[in-house]
């Protein structure tokens, strides 16, 4: 090849690269839009449209019947039935207020334990909450519990140095990936009358206490915290680690006490992250499904339970209506939060190495009130988080006669001798890991692109950003049925063709769609806090938008990206409903699917598979965080 040609080629490559670079952002945005259109809007749209259709004609009848049914909306049914009768509604509220009374009383908060606590009893005439009201109520309580259990973990992990800190930080994600049925079985094994906790208490002559039956709502809330407190903790730790140390030092040098510096400098920077965690928790627990009925029973049914039932009965109109209302509530809340977040943009921050104090420097410090409080919290963590998982692991190696390895022998035998139509453990493990890595690779760019596009777009950005949370705000049951009807069965096209999407690629895309909001929510607050002048200077010096993003912004928000990436991986590992639908009869099943399939009249093999899931996930998270940690520095 003559030198001039080579030069020409090199020029062409350089030009192409610079063009690609110039358009990298739009390219990524376009690809993101394409994935969302096929894997999210199409399936969700296929079902949602049923909410406004009756025998093919547009109608609002479904909404009318749901909104005026006290079973669904409780006391609000009258308001929806006659929105204009303001007078009579006000009278109703006044009558209710008049009947409220407050009195001093004594309660015993711990079931089975005579521990009287003085309390102000609020006597209110019952208000019928309806399915939506109760669902929101338990979600709000679950959110409080998750924040209360998650924040101390974030505090300890972000401010203290101790052996195994990094590993524990990696493992915080574990509860998040456990299939619901495993969590339920784990909770019974830990908190049941014959469970581990009562066994331990029995050793010191206490119990047995009916932890689960004593207050089913409380145990459901604890189970929700089991899932979501780690989420709150992780989001908060990521923000905590990116708090600008210099700002704290400046405050201290200006005479602020450590407490004051914490309150005025650190807390404002953490608050958006804590709220993000709370928001995600609320949305998740608002759409909770397997846990409530498994631990609490039908009395504690939520909206999602009814959606599942309607879908099972193929009553798509009513199911879609309930799901649309659920989604509107979640998105409305997200929008309100995002308006708040966008008002918070503050100073630029840098990801300096956070200074951590040793947790146990010497014996005297170890006995200080703060250290003792941490020890007490550690005990709570042992009971609430480690307990159910450890009890599961114990369950996988026991049967009626004591220790046994037969459940694992089953997995091994199935792997070695199983037929192709059976579910093989290794294929499940392999698929889970492959899909996890692929999801991470797809979801991180998607999430970052959406963050960049919406970061400084003001009110319009907040709307787009809220809509970008759609995957979290759509009922899992409805999304699943949308995937089945829209992608697995396919959309009929003229000429006998069908548009169908299934298999591994579809599964990764569906996982990425479910996962990118976590990347966005972790990255956006950090991005919004960067000083716009930095990007502008880079641009003024001739950097393309992509270059400015890659070389200036992303390194500064690396902690958010790594946190988001870890979530993306976790979402993919734990995802069940869309995986099982898109996997069909093929060999693209994952570990949670295998757990479900091994569940028969004997739970041992499924629990053994659940334990394998735990260990594989734990190992991968240590790796993900170690690799991610390099990018953070």
């Amino acid at each position: 090849m003559p030198a001039s040609d080579r030069r020409g080629l090199r020029n062409a490559v350089v030009t192409l690269r610079s063009r690609l670079e110039r358009h990298a952002l739009s390219l990524a945005a376009l690809a993101t839009a394409a994935v969302l259109a096929i894997m999210l809007y199409l399936p969700v749209g296929v079902v949602f449209v049923e909410a406004v259709l009756e025998a093919g004609r547009p109608t609002l009848a479904h909404f009318r019947s749901v909104l005026t049914d006290p079973f669904y909306v409780g006391a609000l049914a009258d308001v929806f039935a006659e929105p204009l009768a303001v007078g009579s509604h006000l009278e109703g509220v006044a009558g209710w207020l008049g009947a409220v009374s407050v009195s001093a009383t004594v309660v015993r908060p711990i079931p089975g334990l005579e521990l009287p606590v003085p309390w102000l009893a609020l006597e209110t005439p019952g208000v019928r909450l309806g399915l939506f009201g109760f669902t929101a109520y338990q979600a709000a309580l679950s959110t409080l519990a998750s924040v209360a259990l998650g924040l101390p973990a974030a505090y300890v992990l972000a401010t203290y140095e101790f052996r195994g800190r990094r590993t524990i930080r990696s493992l915080t994600i574990l509860p998040f990936v456990l299939p619901g049925i495993m969590v339920a079985v784990g909770f019974y094994a830990m908190f049941g009358r014959g469970g581990t906790l009562n066994g331990l208490l029995g050793l010191v002559g206490l119990g047995p206490y009916p932890f689960i039956e004593g207050n089913p709502l409380a145990i459901v809330i604890v189970a929700h915290a089991f899932y979501n407190a780690p989420l709150v903790a992780r989001v908060t730790v990521a923000a905590w680690e990116s708090v600008d140390r210099r700002a704290v030092e400046t405050a201290r040098s200006l005479g602020a006490s450590p407490r004051r510096a914490f309150r005025d400098v650190v807390v404002p920077q953490l608050f958006p992250a804590v709220l993000t965690g709370a928001l995600l928790t609320f949305i998740f627990t608002f759409m909770t499904f397997p846990i409530v009925l498994a631990l609490g029973g039908l009395q504690l049914a939520t909206v999602e339970v009814w959606i599942y039932d309607r879908v099972r009965q193929l009553a798509y109109g009513e199911a879609a209506t309930l799901a649309v209302l659920e989604t509107l509530l979640s998105l409305g809340l997200t929008y309100a939060y995002l308006r708040y977040e966008s008002a918070q943009s503050g100073l630029a921050r840098s990801a300096g190495t956070p200074a951590r104090r040793p947790l146990v420097p010497d014996l005297r410090t170890a006995l200080s009130p703060r250290r003792l409080a941490i020890v007490a919290y550690g005990l709570v963590v042992l009971v609430v988080f480690v307990g159910p998982m450890a009890s599961l692991i114990v369950g996988s190696v026991t049967d009626g006669s004591g220790l046994t390895l037969r459940h694992y022998a089953f997995l091994l035998e199935r792997q070695l001798e199983g037929a192709s139509y059976q579910t093989l453990p290794w294929i499940a493990i392999r698929n889970s890991l492959l899909f996890g890595v692929a999801t991470l690779a797809v979801a991180v760019p998607m999430g970052v692109v959406i963050s960049v596009v919406t970061a400084r777009a003001g009110r319009a950005g907040a709307i787009v950003d809220a809509l970008a949370m759609l995957p979290l705000a759509v009922s899992g049951v409805v999304f699943g049925i949308g995937l089945l009807r829209g992608l697995v069965f396919g959309i009929p096209l003229p000429g006998g063709w069908r548009f169908q999407v299934t298999g591994a690629v579809a599964i990764v895309a569906a996982h990425a769609v479910a996962a990118y909001p976590f990347v966005t929510r972790n990255v956006s607050p950090l991005l919004a806090n960067l000083d716009p002048a930095m990007v502008e200077s880079a641009r003024a010096l001739g950097a393309s938008r992509y270059r400015a993003l890659r070389d200036v912004e992303l390194p500064l928000v690396a902690s958010g990206i790594v946190a988001g990436a870890a979530f993306a991986f976790a979402i993919s590992i734990g995802e069940f409903s869309s995986t099982v639908i898109l996997a069909g009869g093929g060999d693209t099943y994952t570990m949670p699917v295998a757990v479900e399939r091994y569940l028969g009249r004997r739970s041992g093999p499924a629990i053994a598979m659940g334990t394998v899931l735990l260990f594989v996930t734990a190992a991968s998270f240590v790796v993900v965080d170690r690799v991610g940690g390099r990018f953070e520095r």
């Binding site: 376009l30 059976q422 739970s603």
Partner: protein
Amino acid sequence: MDRRTFIGTVGAGTVTGVAGCLTRDGGGNGDGDDGTLRIATYDSMVNTENSAGPWLKEAFEAEHDAEIEWTVPDQGLTQYVRSARENADIDADAYVGVNVDDLVRIDDELGDGELLQELEVDRLDNADRIRDELEMGDPHGRVLPYDTGYICLVYDETLVDEPETLADLTEPAYEDALLAQNAQNSDPGRAFLLWTIDAHGEDGYLDYWGDLEDNGVRVLDGWTESYSGAYMEGERAMVVSYSTDQVYANEYDYEMSRHQVAFPNGQGYANPEGMGILEGATDVDVAYDFFDFVLSSEPQAEIAQRNVQFPAVADDHVDLDSTFDEYAHEPSETVAFDYDALRGSLGGWVDDWAREFVGQ
């Protein structure tokens, strides 16, 4: 390259990618008439320990010049009801694991006699071995039972006495004792609900459940949660379950005192499972051969013991293991609603029950 060309290129790329997702509607089910019978079933037929499916496949293939391929649709028969409703392909020839509720649901959704073909029973030599009490009463004759389970109560004799009647369960002796399942999602849960409807009538069952609720019944979602979760961890003294419970307790060395089987009113609710041929099946002859094989003696014993259910054929035609006989209990009287009794009523019964129960 300006923005427009660029977007055009990406667009073209997307279109090419998406084109890989276009398929042509095929003719029948499966891969055509090639001697391979694709049978859809539920998970525990193929995926759990000691499942019957692999045994059936091997034994059938050894006797016949045909092949069996098991497939497990993840939402069971509902998936095919949905497929049929959307005119999508159904990838199986036969279905093993149809119960009478399924038939009712098929007809409610798709119209009378849909999804499965009417069986020509004359083609099956062994069909007359099936016990009469397992007759599902399908007016379209679409399924034949191959096994049955009985729903009963499993209780801990160290905590409660055997309940003699369903009415006993509302007595103080059984306060906070019973675990049941959500009739919306769970087969044993639905069976138990239907049993109470049989006992108290359409007009009385909700009152009975009101009494049960006052007595502290707990309705968990499914069998796994209530049995493997709550009951096995000692939460309660009694659970709605299957009458073959002791077979497992024996196999896994659990205390028999906690695995006592009660048939209140001397009854158990029968839940026969049937097999049928899907519309559009291409290997109908093989399917008939397979069904006849399933109803012959050895497979009946194997299915019963592996699925831990009871055979569908009369006792003379099947020889069960003595351990199975010892630990699997049959009620002296069976209760079961047939097709006609359920058609048009089942949905409403379950719905009224569930709404009554969700007490906000």
